[in-house]
Symmetry: C2
Subunit: 345 residues, 2 copies
């Protein structure tokens, strides 16, 4: 299932409407794309990388220009706005930068438009390929009969096509291993209950939905063999992922359950530490109403204070291994990660 | 705020309508009461104890009888049905048993009805008094400026009037200590976001709403000084409370944060161990729809499998102290709890 692609405009699945409605959005301007990213119609670090790339393509095409310098100034400004649509994941900016670079290497508007689209398509293709590679490496860690707990959505819907953490699970299934997935609902926006369960049911993989707060009991009752999660950003001393991931990591450690992070090398930001990263805080409304599209359903008093960070940092001491498209990385990460990062183009 | 009382019938706050609507239900039959308990219009172990008591009063009055033996058979049968409305908390059955005993000690229908009501009122009064005592003992553990994390609702709405874990927080506040509460929303039925925040705002206590999955990050960031929770049943090797409590206990241990359980002595079931207790599994619908009253708002595929235990067991090794109406109990519980239980008349 392809989540995002180019067909004279950006076409992508509107993830806010799932599981009820499967609808392909047509995005024709950078403003529309920023709005779609902010309301999480598209989300997931690798999918955002592709969106960032295609977004710069939109920037090259949404307005008529005669002057190449004016054109480049415009595209750069729009690219900047796009890159800042969400602050925590590094990938959106990576996609934007790659395509913007091609625009600036070109010598005419026409060439820039052509090169931009080629680069954006390349980003999307690369994501598909590296997810499959990651899946292959990760699948070796999965045993037949494993029950795997995960959070958020890290499947097709979070990437261009295959998935990161869910990609590993799908690859294990393809290899003939029987797996069962515990999907944490992933409050407050329910990407687990709305997207992951939908996707796994579609793929014929056994899935059981639980609340985030049930992760403890299922581990205590030895119903979970492994935890696999994605990552929005991996830094020198830990990684950032969907809020609740850190809690799962602490629980996994307490129960002696292996805890894996599956993410492409573009997710690594090895110059930074956890303390350097700004954690996006989202609207209080996400905890006051059932979910974004249904404000009529009130679940908290209007005037209550809310703390709503979208991600949390998990120090590396909780991480058994990192699964990437260049192989599985075991500790010590300080020594092992740079070796793999050198393989990055 | 009195949550449940007798006025020719049982009157109680319909907790499923909060925080939007404050409505007093009038319950005139055991069937209505069982239905109200099952749909959680009233919940919380101590409130259920009072409900159990008043429910037997209803059983003595909902039908005309000539024969005392027939009357007693009828009341006993109804009492049995009532006691089984929810399986995990011990308190509902305790309330039922206490009033039923008075019915069987009586020598006429009229006397039984009178004695039943007296005993039910006594149960309610005792709950108010012991909550205040518990609050006083517990408040000594709270320091000025403490941030306290809690789950579910353990305040007025969970008891007859004052509260257990929230009662401790209220008592600390009454003693002039400034406290701040992190209320976990408590999926899937959001007792934290719907009830605890509503009650604390009403009482003028500083409260911040978080998702259950944010308990990790607020502890990691040292925003939490103590965890206080209630209990539905305390057995020889641990205690049962709202699903998610065990996760909080593991997190508190990992971060060196004291973890307290506030519960009346009626909650103790010292003959049993954790493995002896049946954990209530509730409807999958609770995770598929926004919340019970709003089935139109779909948050998971119709056909997804769900695991939905309402409670989880937490072994005593995670518990810093037990707060009761007879004092605070520190480990070793095996030795210390029986000393306190002897004070139970």
């Amino acid at each position: 299932m392809r989540t995002i692609f180019w067909e004279d405009c950006i076409k992508m699945i509107d993830q806010t409407l799932l599981p009820e409605t499967f609808k392909i959005l047509e995005i024709r301007s950078v403003d529309e794309l920023i709005e779609a990213i902010k309301r999480l119609a598209i989300r997931g670090a690798p999918a955002l990388e592709a969106a960032g790339g295609y977004g710069v393509v939109l920037a090259t095409r949404e307005k008529k220009f005669e002057d190449f310098e004016e054109f480049k100034d415009y595209v750069k400004e729009r690219a900047n706005q796009l890159a800042n649509a969400r602050p925590t994941a590094v990938n959106l900016g990576v996609g934007v930068e790659r395509v913007l670079k091609k625009v600036f290497e070109a010598s005419s508007i026409e060439e820039a438009r052509k090169k931009a689209l080629e680069e954006a398509e390349k980003i999307a293709e690369e994501d598909i390929i590296r997810n499959k590679l990651m899946g292959g490496f990760g699948a070796k860690l999965i045993e037949d009969g494993d029950s795997i707990l995960t959070i958020c959505n890290t499947g097709s819907l979070a990437t261009v096509e295959w998935g990161t953490a869910l990609g590993v699970i799908k690859s294990a299934k393809l290899e003939g291993k029987n797996v069962r997935v515990f999907a944490c609902e992933t409050r407050p926006l329910n990407q687990g209950s709305r997207l992951t369960t939908w996707e796994l049911l579609r793929d014929g993989i056994d899935v059981i939905l639980i609340t985030d707060s049930m992760a403890g009991i299922v581990m205590q009752k030895e119903m979970v063999d492994k935890v696999i999660v994605g990552a929005d950003r991996i830094v020198r001393d830990g990684f950032f992922n969907k809020i609740g991931t850190y809690t799962l990591a602490v629980l996994a450690k307490e129960h002696g359950i292996p805890f894996f992070v599956a993410a492409p090398l573009t997710t690594f930001d090895w110059e930074k530490k956890m303390e350097d990263v700004v954690i996006e805080e989202r609207s209080a409304d996400e905890l006051k109403y059932c979910h974004v599209k249904c404000r009529s359903c009130i679940i908290a008093p209007e005037n209550v204070k809310v703390y709503n960070p979208a991600f949390d940092p998990t120090p590396f001491k909780y991480v058994t291994a990192l699964i990437t498209e260049k192989g599985v990385i075991f500790p010590p990460y300080e020594r092992e990660v740079p070796k793999i990062l050198k393989l990055r183009k």
